[in-house]
Symmetry: C2
Subunit: 413 residues, 2 copies
């Protein structure tokens, strides 16, 4: 590899990067290259201080009064509105609440309540597992009324037959990073009489999203990836305003029209609040809000531009390794269908990702053979792309993956 | 009131209190009397430091590796086992996860899957609202298969007809503090062929509970009351080992037998892990664990003894106010049926609770007319009981509740 030439180019790219100042807003150890921000985003420096304030001040001093005084009870809606600005939603269409999995259940059952003459929940077979698992749970509970069906990724549109009530699809695929055309698929689903639930876990904060521009019905997604909300951060749920009459199955007290009136019968709130269920997780929401606020400071068009440029550079740098060591690009070269990650297949993928840690690069492995490199434009530099390829070459040149210590453990999240 | 006499007695009680040292483990402002720990428990001093470590160290430095290295992925089970020691559960019968409301849904649907020839979910009409709301959501989704039925509190056992699949009952009533006989009711339900889901939100950390001694089936409860886990803390779910084959409807990836194998079909974990759903909320779990660890340092028999003594003293101190101002004791005098709170009815209850804040007493109001005084033996002193009655007398003597500022806002949580 021609180190000197790239080093020069790359320094210029970093120097000209308008997003470069964001890096120092995150806690990142010197030397570490963190390419797993699409699994768990890095820690914003402001989060620790904010949580100390919420814990010591709002909880410790304010105690129960903070539900009103510190605006805890409206945090899910407030943070939802902020996330909405990243996703092309109107205020009052998103609530930050529960986990992604639980929100999938809510969105699917809400959609089913709007299409109760239809029976099928459709998805692609290689969707993120929890999406399909949640569909299967709905099927199991439905007593035969509902069927969870998965088809090959490219067969989705053809599978939109007139028994499909709802299509559940992830916009950016968790392994390949492939981007779906949200507007086109939503249109096809609507023409077939079906609704769509979009999983935006790998979209929010990673690529520009325009839910209302695509006429989306429902969406859900995760707070701990590109939104940097912290491990197991609360997730979010979008319901287009026209669907706010859908029946919530998870009809907890925080979805009630008057939660603090302690009425005996469930009467769902008129707006997006009905998609809440239990008491909001205040600590998790506070950390999520810091991450979302930070993301809102950035121009999403610029984030996308840099993400693609980082990916292009990395793909270029990886070409010699593909030739020499058999890596195979799984992500698209094409910008329109590539999310904010680049994935390669390699038979020793798991061991290579383990070995890379010794060189202070954290990437991700997804079974059976995918190395996943997450691109987070707020805290990655162009030179990190060059340096990653360099360190990966060292791993390959020494066949580090043959060492037994890289064969011991199961991969995680 | 005979101040001097009580002051003397009470100092002796505080001096002899074996739980007195726990008070300084909590952050509590001097002068404040906090009687709402049954709504939101006070802040353990250790929580801030622990969260700083989780945020700055485990998340900030460890990043994604902390799912294994910092034991995040097994925290729900570890903390569940700790809660189990307070509740008479065996290791592997409790998991800390999701909200109480979501766990009610899981427990109800799991129980229904074990009694699928039966159709009724039974509860009492005055149960905590979210319990009944969640039942109503199951009914709404069941397409006519399941019926949510509520009856008067004293009619529960008679209502255990042979169509009842599951009884959902709160052990300690949120308003009155009345304690149900868990063993006797469970026995009656089993004799009628039904299962029972116990809501332990006002039990855990408040009264001794013996789930397996009562042959309990399922239980759920909240982490932010007597367990001092923080606002919106993760809740927990108990499933007796004999019920671990029940079908989870909320079939998220963390309930899968091999969550990180990313398999296409849902295959529930063999044990309590199947009652997890999405990615665990790490920050909330860390705060909950601090609260549970602190509670585990105390002897629950001693906690109960002091709770009842605090209640007896408060009832004694309140007698003159009942006579003079019309407070009416709603909680039982009888120890066997009184939880860790004392409730009074008063027509101006809401305004009185508001006015008490001016005297630095935080109590709680529950519609339509209940003043609720939560007794948390780890951080309340005997003298706080005397002082509360004294301050309440001032509110009454000056008819502070007539002031317009106490009529403005809705009560919260």
């Amino acid at each position: 590899m021609t180190d000197t030439m790239f080093a020069t180019d790359v320094s210029a790219l970093d120097a000209a990067d308008p997003l470069a100042p964001f890096r120092e807003r995150f806690q990142l150890r010197e030397g570490l290259i963190y390419l797993d921000g699409n699994s768990l985003g890095a820690l914003p420096k402001a989060t620790g201080e904010r949580l100390a304030e919420v814990i010591g001040g709002e909880w410790g001093e304010g105690l129960i009064t903070s539900w009103l005084e510190a605006l805890w009870s409206t945090a899910p809606r407030r943070i939802g509105d902020k996330i909405g600005r990243l996703l092309g939603a109107k205020p009052g269409e998103i609530v930050a609440t529960d986990s992604t999995s639980v929100n999938i259940f809510k969105a699917l059952t809400a959609a089913l309540s709007l299409r109760d003459e239809r029976t099928v929940i459709l998805s692609e077979a290689t969707n993120f597992p929890t999406d399909v698992y949640m569909m299967q749970g709905v099927e199991a509970f439905s007593g035969g009324r509902v069927k969870a069906v998965t088809v090959a990724p490219d067969a989705i549109v053809d599978a939109l037959t007139d028994d499909v009530a709802v299509l559940l699809l992830t916009q950016v695929h968790y392994k390949s990073g492939r981007v779906r055309d949200m507007a086109a698929i939503t249109r096809a689903a609507h023409e077939a009489g079906a609704l769509v639930v979009w999983d935006l876990s790998h979209s929010a904060g990673a690529i520009p999203v325009d839910l209302n521009g695509a006429n989306a019905d429902f969406a859900i997604g995760c707070g701990y990836k590109f939104l940097n909300g912290g491990p197991g951060a609360p997730a979010y749920l979008f319901a287009a305003a026209r669907h706010h009459a859908a029946t919530p199955v998870l009809s907890g007290w925080f979805g009630h029209a008057r939660p603090f009136a302690f009425e005996e019968d469930y009467d769902p709130a008129a707006g997006i609040e009905r998609f809440q269920c239990g008491t909001p997780p205040v600590l998790g929401l506070a950390a999520l809000e810091v991450g979302v606020d930070l993301m809102l400071e950035a121009d999403m068009a610029e984030v996308r531009r840099k993400s693609l440029a980082l990916g292009d550079l990395f793909i270029e740098q990886m070409q010699p390794l593909c030739d020499a060591y058999g890596f195979e690009l799984v992500s698209a070269q094409d910008h329109a269908t590539r999310g904010s990650q680049v994935a390669y297949a390699h038979p020793q993928g798991y061991q290579i990702v383990q070995a890379l840690k010794e060189y202070d690069v954290i990437a991700d492995f997804r079974a059976p053979d995918i190395l996943r490199f997450g691109l987070t434009p707020l805290y990655l530099r162009y030179r990190d792309m060059v340096e990653t390829a360099r360190r990966l070459e060292k791993v390959c040149a020494t066949r580090a993956w043959d060492k037994p210590q890289y064969h011991q453990r199961a991969a995680v999240t």
